[in-house]
């Protein structure tokens, strides 16, 4: 039996409220002991100056396999996930073909097994081929490994279909993940509707397109007692409605993305399609409420909303380019910049949004360092300064607005089931500390 010891780090496990210097012992892929006087191990990882926490979990990422592997494959996407500190990711089903049947979900798990990087949890389609007309084979998708259901970036426009979906998935006590947006109000939209869109002449998507849909979905969740998860919430009033709904015991969760915290609609002034995302980057007043929502628990998780696209599809006309950025490899430093450095969240709070929060949404048995849990562990140096270099990404794609940003906080080691699956290349390490 191999004993792997992670020593000298600051261990933070929000699931148990644990935050203190400690050693973590891993045997046979399972955490067996956490404490001061453990050791030695057969193999040791020196975590001096680092935070040791549960591996990060992402509630929704897009890997483009099958269909458009030039953008991303399961292998490259999961490698990117590891480099960003993620040990589990849930994959959106908007591939080609759509993951709307058991075989598609099983294919995804097969490819994840072959890649042998992080854990992959399929999200199944709500409706066949994401057409919003007929429910997909939700029960069989569950048997194939799906953990929740979504039509990805296509909102479920028909309220009756959404109602049935929530009722049907309630049978299995699983969530519907919704991209809350009234499609007619967002059609052909490029950016947030407001002063900047007026200035640039780019077609806007009003904040109301989101919070009207949030309002409808919350009403349907109350009606059906189904589980609703709202993805990439970006609007002040959405947060306020979700807060009220939670107080009224409606089963709703939501997540926000780091880029919606770090950037505003002003970024589009350069007409760079790397700033085009869905939902669009909003104005400062909306960001302020997202942060309040993170602090008071209205927002349950932070998701990268990883959306890889090849360079050629992101270069050129901003209104023709697809929306989205690659996010998995920049979540940690962008969260540190937007949430830790301004003292909006503590380390315990931030790590909770990246671990136990998403684990509960996905209803998966991960996101903790409790003794007996699978040893999914991320070790990161919270103070290392580095420069984001898209060319060094593990993702196939480079579509990020954060290239060249001077940031701090770097992932050093990532373990999945006790195996070291990622270790930062020593040549990429910098010694600068702040």
């Amino acid at each position: 039996m191999t004993r792997l010891l992670i020593h000298s780090g600051r261990v933070i496990d929000p699931a148990r409220g644990f935050d203190q210097p400690a050693n973590v012992l891993i045997e046979n892929g399972v955490i067996t002991e956490i404490g001061d006087n453990i050791g030695p191990g057969d193999r040791e990882i020196d975590a001096s100056g680092c935070i040791v926490c549960p591996g990060f979990i992402d509630t929704h990422v897009a890997f483009r396999e099958p269909g458009t592997e030039d953008d991303e494959s399961v292998a490259s996407g999961t490698a990117a996930a590891l480099a960003g500190g993620f040990t589990s990711v849930a994959c959106l089903p908007d591939t080609s073909p759509v993951v709307d049947n058991r075989a598609s979900a099983e294919f995804l798990l097969l490819q994840a097994g072959r890649a042998n990087n992080c854990r992959v949890f399929p999200l199944g389609a709500v409706t066949k081929n994401h057409e919003g007309q007929e429910l997909a084979e939700i029960g069989q998708l569950l048997e194939g490994g799906a953990v929740a259901f979504t039509d990805a970036k296509r909102p479920i426009a028909n309220a009756e279909i959404m109602r049935r979906a929530l009722e049907y998935t309630a049978m299995f006590d699983r969530s519907i993940f919704e991209h809350p947006q009234v499609p007619e109000m967002a059609a052909d939209g490029v950016m947030h509707e407001g002063y900047v869109s007026t200035l640039l002449g780019l077609r806007g998507i009003p904040a109301a397109a989101e919070h009207i849909m949030v309002s409808r979905d919350l009403s349907l969740a109350a009606l059906t007692r189904g589980r609703l998860h709202l993805m990439s919430v970006s609007v002040r009033r959405s947060i306020q409605q979700i807060r009220d709904a939670k107080e009224n015991q409606i089963q709703v969760t939501c997540d926000v993305t780091p880029h919606h915290l770090a950037l505003t609609d002003v970024s589009l002034t350069e007409f760079d399609a790397n700033y085009k995302v869905d939902p669009p980057l909003r104005s400062r007043e909306h960001i302020a409420e997202l942060i309040v929502g993170l602090k008071d628990g209205t927002v349950d998780a932070i998701s990268s909303d990883h959306q890889p696209y090849t360079e050629e599809s992101k270069t050129g006309e901003v209104d023709l380019a697809p929306a989205g950025i690659v996010g998995l490899e920049t979540v940690l430093p962008i969260c540190i910049r937007t949430l830790i450095e301004p003292n909006h969240l503590t380390w315990m709070e931030l790590i909770a949004k990246l671990t136990v929060g998403p684990a509960k949404i996905l209803q998966i048995d991960h996101g903790t360092l409790a003794v007996g849990a699978a040893a999914d562990v991320t070790v990161f140096d919270p103070n290392e300064q580095w420069t984001i270099d898209p060319q060094a990404f593990h993702s196939h794609s480079r579509n990020t607005p954060f290239g060249g940003w001077e940031v701090r906080g770097r992932v050093k080691h990532v373990l999945v089931g006790g195996e070291v699956r990622f270790q930062l290349d020593p040549t990429q390490q910098e010694t600068t500390h702040v």
């Binding site: 407001g194 270069t315 901003v318």
Partner: protein, 321 residues
């Protein structure tokens, strides 16, 4: 008799330091006045019979029109010829774009033929800004989607200045489809910088969000503001840019926002009527107004040529001083 070829006075050109003309948002009042003054100098030369200069001889100006255009394209082409530049014309229809080439690669290919200035019309806001980063040539925005149309804004302002003497303190109203109008945005920037009071007027559905923050007043009752206007600029309803119905019918639009004889009689005696065109007679403007004594519509076309000559000429010397 003056020679048909003449060199312009380089006075204004020495003060110009920009390589690209992407929008009036970027320009200072001084820079706008410089272009207007250069255009006025060309107009004076034309009045003396000087129809052509050699200043751009040996250079190539490419007209890259990724979106259909008649008057702007012709105007730019003629302006380049008046300066003795060679011109290359490109239209998206039937081009390599239909074979999947990106517009950046198309522009690069044409630039490689020795082009020093590129005039770009594109349906996407920001397309000229992207080309300005990608090309070595100077880029002139000839209209980018619903963003800006700087030379149209300049020719409108030139015409107002010519007819009214100055912009300072004058009330200029832009009427019509403000939401989808690149002409409106360029006009607003230019007019405000030169001291005019600007009102935008149209159906509430065609007034974009937070436009007041640009320093303009918003009106939806055209009749109530007609008597205040020194100049009324009637923008075309951009049916081709709209999705969905923004007003119930053309007849209702013309009733509420069309410039007709009744409204003209309630306007100031010397009110100036502009329309960037192409005009929809009977919609934005009735024939009696379009062809009447207050209308400067054809002057705008003439002035457009001078403005484009001025822009090509000034920008071609951006780093020569």
């Amino acid at each position: 008799m003056t020679a048909p070829y003449s060199e312009p006075d380089p006075h204004f050109r020495r003060q110009w330091h920009r390589k690209h003309l992407l929008g009036l948002q970027d320009l200072t009042a001084e820079e706008i006045n410089l272009i207007l003054d250069q255009a006025a100098a060309f107009k004076a030369m034309a009045a003396e019979g000087v129809t052509k200069t050699k200043w751009l001889m040996g250079t190539v100006v490419a007209n890259l029109f990724f979106e259909p255009s008649t008057r702007t394209r012709t105007s730019f082409s003629l302006a380049a010829k008046r300066l003795s530049a060679d011109t290359v014309d490109f239209s998206a229809a039937g081009s390599s774009l239909s074979k999947g080439e990106t517009f950046i690669d198309t522009a690069r290919t044409i630039e490689a033929m020795g082009v020093s200035q590129v005039v770009v019309r594109h349906q996407t806001p920001g397309a000229p800004h992207i080309l300005a980063k990608e090309l070595d040539a100077g880029v002139l925005n000839a209209g980018d989607g619903t963003h800006e149309h700087p030379t149209q804004g300049l020719l409108d302002i030139f015409t107002i200045r010519e007819k009214l003497g100055s912009l300072e303190g004058k009330t200029v109203t832009l009427v019509g489809d403000i939401r989808h109008s690149r002409v409106a945005r360029s006009n607003i920037w230019g007019l405000k910088k030169l001291g005019a009071r600007v009102i935008v007027c149209g159906p509430a559905t065609l007034i974009p969000s937070q436009i007041e923050e640009l320093g303009v007043e918003v009106a939806t009752d055209f009749d109530s503001i007609v008597p205040e206007c020194d100049c009324i600029n009637l923008l075309r309803v951009q049916f081709e840019r709209q999705r969905g119905a923004f007003f119930p019918s053309i007849r209702e639009y013309a009733h509420l926002f069309g410039m007709n004889g009744d409204r003209l009689r309630r306007a100031k005696q010397d009110v100036l009527i502009l329309a960037p065109g192409p005009i929809n007679r009977g919609v934005e403007i009735t024939p009696e107004v379009a062809d009447g004594p207050h209308s400067a519509i054809l002057d705008q076309v003439t002035n457009g040529l001078l403005i484009r000559m001025a822009c090509l000429y000034l920008l071609s010397g951006w780093n020569s001083n």
